[in-house]
Subunit: 193 residues, 2 copies
């Protein structure tokens, strides 16, 4: 039950809850254990849950027309992962969700979360704020993706997500940064000299 604390610790600084609300929130979420490389969502599935990472490391990615993987996002403890568009519109997912490390994910059914929003207004607030922050961060990433060189992006990634870099293989970092593994390798060589 320890992982449930992880969840509350992430919600409460943003949206404090009464004891009853806390119970309601916890009751709505269910834990799911994942092995390394286990899939949490496939392209084509309809995402039925909001998902909070209590432990471990996951990634979301899609396959392009050539079957190549492109990573959108990594997530570690305290992050939310999803194919949000699929979840929101209940259409088939574009993205895959997969555990990069063994993981524990807390999931809440869409219908239950909607009910929770009604019963526990701070949760609606919490998600609005989370979305706002995610949006801002994403905006930042968009600009940087288009305007910075791969080297600059890598240096930033390193500083910002030191921990993630140490937990995922290098070719996944390359994929996240939008460069080929070869190119990332040359960048690293250049930096370490």
């Amino acid at each position: 039950m320890d992982y449930k604390n992880t969840l509350l610790q992430h919600i409460e600084p943003i949206a404090p809850l009464s004891e009853a609300e806390r119970m309601a929130v916890l009751a709505a979420f269910q834990p799911k254990k994942l092995k390394k490389k286990e899939m949490l969502l496939f392209k084509g599935d309809i995402s039925q849950h909001m998902r909070f990472i209590a432990k471990g490391c996951l990634r979301s990615y899609y396959l392009d027309d050539n079957g190549q993987e492109h990573i959108l996002q990594f997530g570690i403890e305290g992050w939310w992962v999803n194919d949000l568009y699929s979840y929101l519109t209940q259409t088939p997912a574009e993205y895959f969700l997969q555990a990069v490390e063994p993981a524990i994910v807390l999931q809440v059914q869409r219908s239950q979360l909607e009910a929770l929003f009604k019963r526990v207004p701070p949760m609606e607030r919490f998600f609005r704020i989370k979305m706002q922050n995610a949006y801002v961060a994403q905006q930042e990433r968009t600009i940087k993706g288009m305007r910075m060189t791969a080297e600059q992006r890598y240096i930033e990634f390193r500083e910002k997500y030191r921990e993630i870099e140490q937990r995922v293989p290098q070719y996944m970092v390359a994929s996240y940064l939008g460069v080929t593994p070869e190119h990332l390798s040359t960048i690293r060589k250049k930096i370490n000299s």
Copy 2:
């Protein structure tokens, strides 16, 4: 008062309102008229309002270390524009907001919007959904910015924002797409042949 309808027409499909709520919402917003090139927010200002475009066309942009403009976003009728991070955290803005065409913007003070969220719960819902959609769209743009060629991005932009393309100068489109005006020019030449 016509522009106030524009606002309600954008809120109600997502979050229906009672007559009283409608009044409360309208009362909170104040119109502001902008001339072409007039600034709505400067870098360094603290963004005090949420802003809805009732008429006209605006852009948000920032200046890099070389003083070059980079456009994040255009907005036309029915869009929201802001430096969201500044608004949310009440820190100095990174971005400028400027009218590209004469415009009418409906503004609501942050404190009033917060009060509105409490009094009119559908508004909190409306903004959560807006944020989610914006986030998803932004995620899309991030991926495409890093992985598609400038030509592909331009073709997409054209299809998706035909109207905006016709309302803003080409060098701003280039800026939005993250390419030099010269390069966009050669892309256009290539496409039209």
